[in-house]
């Protein structure tokens, strides 16, 4: 095996229950995003673009589609001969096994994998977030500071701060204290769930944490506080840019709407930082004579005969004549008949919407339609169905 300075461990086991029907058969990182991606594409592309070519992906909840999506990692140029991507499900021992108890336990259970590469640093990231980040710069910062651990942080609005892990830093960016989701936040520097650890140090803390029966084996709740307690050198690395946890139906919808502005904060069309995804090889989209498309993202393989406004169409979507789609997200292979009206809705992959159906309304709620419901003609559905 090659020695690697830094390897990445990507936590991709998230159940994402607040995404409701969308995560019934899918792990959260596998949820479609942005017209052609899945959520995990953003972190995998970050790794690839940052020159990190050894990535362990820790799966557990509904791993099948995620596994077959990742394949051998070709899409992200991670099908390397001597390194590349490895999918790591919870280990099933002879006497049974169990799910990862927490984020820290997930890394602990895969120490064998990490040790193969004898790394200096381990980058721990989550496959749940939408952002573009050059991890190599964070690693440089970690080295410069001579840190034991570095946590990427971003400023969040004070009113939302209590949803995050927050840290106070001194003027050299050193973390002086850390609170996980406090009711009365003293800081608005939130952890993005992106950590760099010196592997030798982390390994020691993981071993100790496993001995502690009371621990929840979580980085934010257990490992970071334990490190601070032992006076380890922890630094914050400030991230500037778009970052979003698309953990609810509402935030998923908002993140899509964010992409539609003329000059979105998250630029997915930057040739120097491509977002890679598995390409379904579909032909160009065909926009018919009576179609109209405004302020929208439309992917390959779509056939559009109707009107689309402020919406995102994934690949293989058919929009029939006379239909109108507004402020909506239409996931892959959705077939929409003629004279359908869809407003402020998310239509999950493979759904067939019959002629004349009316979906969603102006109430402010987002309507979510999940596959195989077979919406009947002229039905009027404006609440979440699943």
């Amino acid at each position: 095996m090659f020695k690697k300075e830094t390897i990445a461990m990507l936590l991709a086991g998230g159940q994402g229950t607040r995404l409701k029907g969308l995560t019934k058969k899918l792990a959260k990182p596998a949820v479609p995003f942005g017209g052609k991606y899945r959520i995990i594409d953003f972190t995998l592309s970050n790794c690839s673009n940052s020159g990190i070519d050894t990535v362990g992906v820790l799966t557990q909840y509904q791993p099948h589609i995620l596994n077959s999506y990742i394949g051998i990692g070709s899409a992200w140029d991670l099908d390397r001969k001597y390194r590349g991507i490895s999918v790591l499900p919870p280990y099933q021992g002879q006497k049974g096994g169990e799910w990862y108890k927490g984020t820290a336990n997930a890394i602990y259970q895969n120490a064998y994998y990490i040790n193969q590469y004898d790394p200096e640093y381990v980058l721990v990231i989550s496959g749940d977030h939408i952002y573009k980040m050059d991890y190599s710069k964070m690693i440089d910062h970690h080295k410069e500071k001579g840190a034991d651990a570095t946590i990427a942080v971003l400023e969040v609005p004070w009113e939302e701060a209590s949803r995050f892990g927050l840290m106070n830093t001194n003027d050299t960016n050193k973390i002086v204290n850390f609170e996980e989701k406090p009711t009365n936040p003293k800081s608005n520097l939130a952890s993005m769930g992106v950590y760099i650890f010196n592997w030798k140090v982390l390994n020691q803390f993981l071993l100790e944490d496993e001995q502690n029966k009371l621990s929840s084996n979580d980085f934010g709740k257990d490992i970071i506080p334990a490190m601070l307690k032992k006076d380890k050198e922890l630094y914050a690395y400030e991230f500037q840019g778009y970052w979003k946890d698309v953990g609810t139906v509402k935030s998923l919808w908002e993140a899509h709407m964010d992409l539609l502005s003329d000059d979105p904060e998250l630029d997915i069309n930057d040739p120097t930082w491509k977002i890679y995804s598995v390409n379904p090889n579909q032909p160009p989209q065909y926009i018919a004579s009576k179609a109209s498309i405004k302020r929208s993202l439309v992917n390959e393989g779509c056939l559009v005969y109707g009107n689309v406004e402020n919406s995102v169409l994934f690949y293989g979507v058919y929009v029939g004549l006379g239909s109108t789609i507004k402020e909506s997200i239409i996931m892959p292979d959705v077939k929409i008949g003629a004279n359908v009206t869809i407003k402020k809705a998310i239509i999950a992959s493979g759904t067939v919407i019959k002629d004349g159906a009316v979906i969603g309304d102006d109430s402010g709620e987002i309507t979510l339609i999940v596959e195989d419901l077979g919406i009947a003609p002229d039905s009027n559905i404006n609440k979440q169905l699943t």
């Binding site: 942005g34 017209g35 052609k36 070709s74 003329d262 997915i268 069309n269 491509k274 977002i275 890679y276 995804s277 390409n279 379904p280 090889n281 579909q282 032909p283 160009p284 989209q285 065909y286 926009i287 018919a288 004579s289 009576k290 179609a291 109209s292 498309i293 405004k294 302020r295 929208s296 993202l297 439309v298 992917n299 390959e300 056939l303 689309v308 995102v312 169409l313």
Partner: protein, 366 residues
């Protein structure tokens, strides 16, 4: 196991597409919004289970090399078999014919394990399953099978045509300069046992003859059982800028789109990882094919936009083909034009072609 090896014979191809084939061979001409012509034959091979593909490249194949890369997009990055680029030994020597080129690579043919060989061109747009051709070849007890397509109109174009009898057995091969409706145009695509191919190629080379179609196939119609295979699917004949343009525009018919791109599975090409096409507030797009990575703020009618094209505010594009990374400035007006890759059109510029559209060369700034 592997039954057919595939050969893409570029040596005989004429570069008929004027400016589009000035610096590239015809096989690497962009087509259909995101493809190059060679993608069709490579995808046919993949879908027919052909894993050993030799590309007999002769000239202007730099863009082709770049497009093919390691062959990974067509699942041809293999240890045994895979994609082989086979240029002539010495490119400065004069090219006597494809047999000379094949003969120089005799060891390639000899060490390939497949029982059959299928030789074809690099720039036909079609969907064909060569497994069916092989089946028919065996059923007919043929020695050589020639694939042909019926021609639908009268036109000036140089092709070989075939006379076949009621049993589709080939009686004669003609070289024609005008093709008429109903003619059986030979697609320079033939199947036979690899051992027979090697024997005939060596024998003919040693006789000092070098053209496979004329000196091997045509010369041996009586000696062997030469069978025709009538390809009945959709297939545009592209042999001029005019036919290239017309057949491109035909893709705007959803039935044609369906036949070419959906009915037989997708066509593989080099992946570019561009985002979905983005339509801004002022965009007006009708009856057009749009590839990913495009950003459209202007007006696009009856046109094809390849990957990564930018259409600025107020620009108008009509009946045109804009290849990869074209950028059309504000209030520019384009009608009946073909822009090769990377062409930038300035603000307010007007470009109008005739019925046969004007071609603007790669990377020009207009």
């Amino acid at each position: 196991m592997e039954q057919i090896m595939g050969v893409i014979n570029l040596g005989n191809e004429k570069d008929l597409l004027e400016d589009l084939t000035k610096h590239r061979c015809q096989a690497s001409v962009p087509f259909g919004g995101r493809y190059r012509l060679v993608d069709f034959i490579l995808s046919n091979f993949v879908k027919s289970g052909v894993h050993n593909v030799g590309v007999f490249a002769r000239k202007k194949y730099r863009a082709l090399l770049d497009h093919l890369g390691s062959g990974k997009e067509w699942d041809l990055d293999r240890q045994k078999d895979g994609l082989f680029i086979l240029p002539p030994h010495d490119s400065t020597e004069s090219y006597k014919g494809d047999i000379q080129h094949f003969y120089e690579h005799l060891p390639y043919f000899e060490r390939s394990k497949e029982e059959y060989i299928l030789v074809t061109q690099g720039s036909i747009v079609w969907n064909i399953n060569f497994r069916h051709v092989l089946e028919e070849h065996k059923n007919q007890g043929a020695d050589i099978t020639l694939i042909y397509k019926d021609y639908s109109q009268e036109e000036k174009a140089v092709y070989h045509t075939l006379d076949v009898d009621d049993n589709e057995r080939v009686q004669a091969v003609h070289l024609e300069k005008t093709i008429n409706q109903g003619d059986n145009v030979f697609l320079n695509t033939y199947l036979m046992k690899k051992s027979l191919f090697i024997d005939l190629m060596k024998e003919t080379y040693e006789q000092g003859k070098y053209d496979f179609v004329t000196d091997v196939i045509r010369a041996n119609l009586n000696r062997y059982h030469v069978q025709g295979f009538h390809f009945k699917g959709y297939m545009p004949f592209i042999h001029s800028i005019e036919s290239f343009y017309n057949h491109s525009m035909n893709l705007l018919d959803p039935n044609v789109l369906q036949q070419l791109f959906y009915d037989h599975g997708f066509i593989y090409t080099k992946v570019k990882h561009g985002p979905p096409a983005k339509y801004l507030q002022g965009s007006h797009v009708v009856n057009s094919l749009i590839a990913n990575g495009c950003t459209i703020e202007g007006k696009v009618e009856n046109s094809i936009l390849f990957r990564g094209v930018k259409v600025h505010k107020g620009a108008v594009i009509r009946n045109s083909i804009i290849m990869q990374k074209g950028e059309i400035g504000e209030e520019a007006f384009l009608e009946n034009v073909i822009l090769d890759k990377d062409v930038k059109v300035s603000k307010d510029r007007i470009l109008k072609g005739e019925e046969i559209p004007t071609v603007f060369a790669k990377s020009s700034h207009l």
